[in-house]
Amino acid sequence: MTNPNDKYFNRRRLLTRAGKAGLSIAAAGTVSYLLYDRKGPSRLSAKSKDLVTLADFSVPHEAGDTISIVEGPDRKQTVTKAIELLGGIERFVKEGETVAIKPNVAFASPPMLGATAQPELVAQVVTLCLKAGAAQVIVTDNPINDPASCFMLSGVGKAASQAGAKVILPREYHFRHTTLEGGKLIKNWPIFFGPFAKVDKLIGITPVKHHARAGASMTMKNFYGLLGGRRNIFHQDINTIIAELAMMVKPTLVILDGTEVMMTNGPTGGSVSDLKRANTVIASCDMVAADSYGCTLLDLKPADLPYLAKAQTAGAGTTDLESLKPIMGTV
């Protein structure tokens, strides 16, 4: 016959053991929960106090001194004239200031294919900035292809250096996270920030190009180079990201080179037959306005580029060129 004490002892032992097991499971579960990383390593995030914001590099502008459009075959002459018509480089660059120039150096492509900013154009803008008394001119980009190859093969690196600029290639430590206020896509996202952290002025330089996804690649799309991380995911909402770039970046001036326009097979092109000579350079304090004029060189209308309307709605500029009273010139 079973001793009643034996039964009680087994039940107590069972309960004790079950309790211990339960505590172990709870402890393991708690530790797992605390260590669980929902976001995964693809989305490194920064604490809000570590987020940065790009400075506002813009200068005051109004109708009649916002955008100039100059026609001519020689880029050095047309860009000089275009800036002159807006008041001269001294309006934009003061003595002792540091200037960052962000040309489109996205691809390791030779200048003749028009996929990147032209070396002589970049060099001329560097020269003008130094003549205005800039303490230093930085030329930098965060290309799609290997940066060293891009700066070398595009000719921009050599031209900029020879003109007296310091060329900065992107390094890991240049990237910091940012969140665009009111942005849908740029949230806690790494941007190429380092070279722009301590400059006074920012000038963008880019050619007019067809773009297979966006329709066109011009001054606003040029700042795609500031995005880090797996930025290709933004191609799925290309118009929104371009508009957000225009909200995030407030440059002093943008130069849009329509001397030779990539009409097809953009943004990389590949053949000189993709190019059409339009002999036009646009200088502008308003990227939306610059792109609105630039798209006409691609035989497009502003309405053909949805990102323009988005950027205008966001307050980044205007597609109403007439309201800005553009200054026309010829060399």
Binding site: D6, F9, N10, G40, P41, S42, A106, F107, A108, S109, P110, M112, L113, I144, N145, S149, L153, H211, A212, R213, A214, S217, G229, R230, N232, H235, T264, N265, G266, P267, T268, G270, S271, V272, S273, D274
Partner: protein
Amino acid sequence: MDSIKGKPKKLESIVGLSLLVVLILIAITILITQSDYDMTRFGVGTVLSGPGTEKISLTSLVPAGFETLSEETYLADNLYEKINGKAPLYIESGFVKLSSARFLSKSDENLWMELFIFDMANIKNAFSVYSVQKRPDVEMLPDMQFGYRTTNAPYFVHGKYYVEFIASSKSDELFKAMIETAQKIQANLPPDADTEIPELSYFPHENLAAGSHKLYLASAFGFEGFTDIFTAQYKFGDETITAFLSRRPDPQDARLVAKSYHKFLIENGGVAKPAITKALEGKVVDFYDTTEIVFATGPFVVGIHEAENQQYAEKLATILINKLSQAKAMSND
């Protein structure tokens, strides 16, 4: 004594130890797996292993007087890092892999060229990306099945590969070197089993603009249901007319696709209009002052796209019907 006194039985000990061993093994497996996860998910450009990702040896393709500066390989996951906004065109057309190399002249450091070999899985895909990107008014390359040159580079299809070059400058020396590399590709790179595109032979030759064939794998003419659509251009006097055709799996599918495209045209502002040729009655649509014709004949969807002149459009459509009837008759023999 029994386990009531706190001393476990032998069986209990064995079971307990076995469980512990299993738990330890699980933990080790997790640690090993965690330390070797797929980095391509997280932005690191790594070439995956597996079928279709074997490296092409580009060293054998270096032209005389040049040396290899760099070699790169890209898969669908990181193709955009090389060609940016063009990547979707390739990926949506069956892209497998890009092998690229830069060759530098040994005698002039300013002379370099870059070779791009796109593995598109089959000749149709390769022809599609070749044809939709083909520049107008180019010179066709005589020794190539599908190939042309611009002033600075050649572009061609070699079996399942689409090949293009970029050059640092317009140079005869560079162009000769590119042609030499192109010939080496043709000689040394196995193109794959299929080297023909039968659909191209269904287009009549009369009035055909040489080299004008294109293949739209998806969404031809803006219509989502229009897949595998071949087009060709024809000259009638000063007019250029675009004909299209697609071979479907069976006549029923062809009828369905033709009907869907006809409906698409009407829903988007097209208006059915009388045909000049009786046989084409009910198949002609006025689409914003251009003529669209679409119909099915056997397993083929056939038509004319955005023609300025209805008479020429119907003439070409009739020639197409006759040609395809012959093709059907031959295949029934």
